[in-house]
């Protein structure tokens, strides 16, 4: 239990995908104009990361990795399909995103209208693939740990995007130099937020 909390907190603050590793920047900058839309995207990312990381964990450990196929019999113990890792991970992510899109469209048109346009964007959000690749590298012991890591990373993204959206909403009332308005200042604020988050790096959990 302690371990799970540990993984969860780590992935939110210390290993924050956006502000420590700078992944998922495209949608982060493009969809952070207002707090409302960023909350929508944030929840979608939590959801997708929470699903895809454990699925990819299972694929990695029972299908693709070295010796992962040994449950089929000793003959398969040497099979190494790891050259397919990227394409499998990305296929899982893309199909999950499209599945989520279809399900939401069917059961909750209101939610679909507010969230739907972001869903295709999530498929190429490098934070999502990054989440799966980090999971692969960090050798989590079981799918539950992987799930907590996925959810934690999603919450980290959520915090970061809602944070910058709030700042951008406020900054509308400030007298920013015209050429810097919008994107320019958003880049610089993200840089400053990243510097602030670097102070979490020293924490040992």
């Amino acid at each position: 239990m302690e371990e799970l909390v540990n993984i969860f907190v780590r992935s939110i603050f210390i290993d924050n995908l956006v502000l420590a590793y700078f992944l998922g920047m495209c949608s982060y900058l493009a969809i952070s104009r207002t707090v409302k839309t960023s909350i929508g995207l944030g929840f979608a990312v939590i959801f997708v990361l929470g699903i895809t990381v454990p699925i990819n964990y299972l694929i990695e450990n029972y299908l693709l990795g070295r010796g992962a196929l040994s449950w089929l019999g000793p003959r398969f113990a040497d099979v190494d399909l790891s050259f397919l890792t990227f394409i499998m991970f990305i296929a899982v992510i893309a199909s999950m995103v499209q599945l989520v899109e279809m399900i939401i469209e069917k059961f909750s048109p209101t939610l679909y209208n507010s969230l739907g346009i972001f869903l295709p964007l999530i498929a190429v959000n490098c934070a999502i693939l990054g989440g799966s690749l980090f999971m692969q590298e960090r050798n989590y012991a079981n799918p539950i740990e992987a799930t907590f890591f996925g959810l934690g990373s999603g919450v980290g993204f959520f915090l970061a995007i809602v944070g910058i959206a709030a700042i951008r909403e406020k900054i509308k009332y400030s007298n920013v130099l015209p050429p810097l308005r919008g994107l320019g200042i958003a880049f610089i604020i993200t840089g400053l937020m990243g510097i602030a988050f670097m102070s979490f790096m020293g924490i040992e959990l």
Partner: protein, 234 residues
Amino acid sequence: MTKDYSNKYIFIYSSIMVVVVALILSLLATLLQPRQERNIRLEKMQDILASINIEVEREKSEVVFWDYIVDTKILNHKGEELEGDAFEVDLQDEIRKDLAERQLPLYIAEAEDEQYYIIPLRGAGLWGAIWGYISLKSDFNTIAGVNFDHASETPGLGSQIADKHFEDQFKGKNIFDQDGNYRSVRVIRNGVDPDDPHRVDAISGGTMTCNGVSNMMYDGIRLYKPYIQKQVNL
């Protein structure tokens, strides 16, 4: 583009796509595997030789490898020798096993009448795996040389662990202190005293990768302690 296709079409389309892609990729992987494995094998030999400060071209490493490497051993965590070919042991598999089952390869090299003991290491950096070889002089304490490499560390920052100027810092450092306690060598930020036998200077901007190197060295060499103690006591 706006017209929507039937489920049947979608299903067939995606099946064909999966089959075609899988076919191309597996065909390619199978065809190219021998050459790729040869490259990896040659690079491994080159890296091992580099840890005892012998630079050879990759293509030639296979020829000279056995001129320098006089013996290889597989050890277990108690320092006992096991059967098998040390060169074929893949650390990537071993570090996932329980300690009791782990095979620990050791290469013994001879160059200019000096014996070197080469320990392979593997760990995690910031983005992916890092690995390396460290050679100890025959006192099993002084480092003769190291060679590090990495899968995907940040270019220009963490990737510098594979650069000569970083690796050269390790030469002459000790892994045990005067009282014989295991200390390893740690990579520390800022203001390292060059005479400190257990510390080297970190790469600025590459802290996470450097921490990975520290941990990899500490955890990796420690496993060989029982063997080293046996050798030194003899």
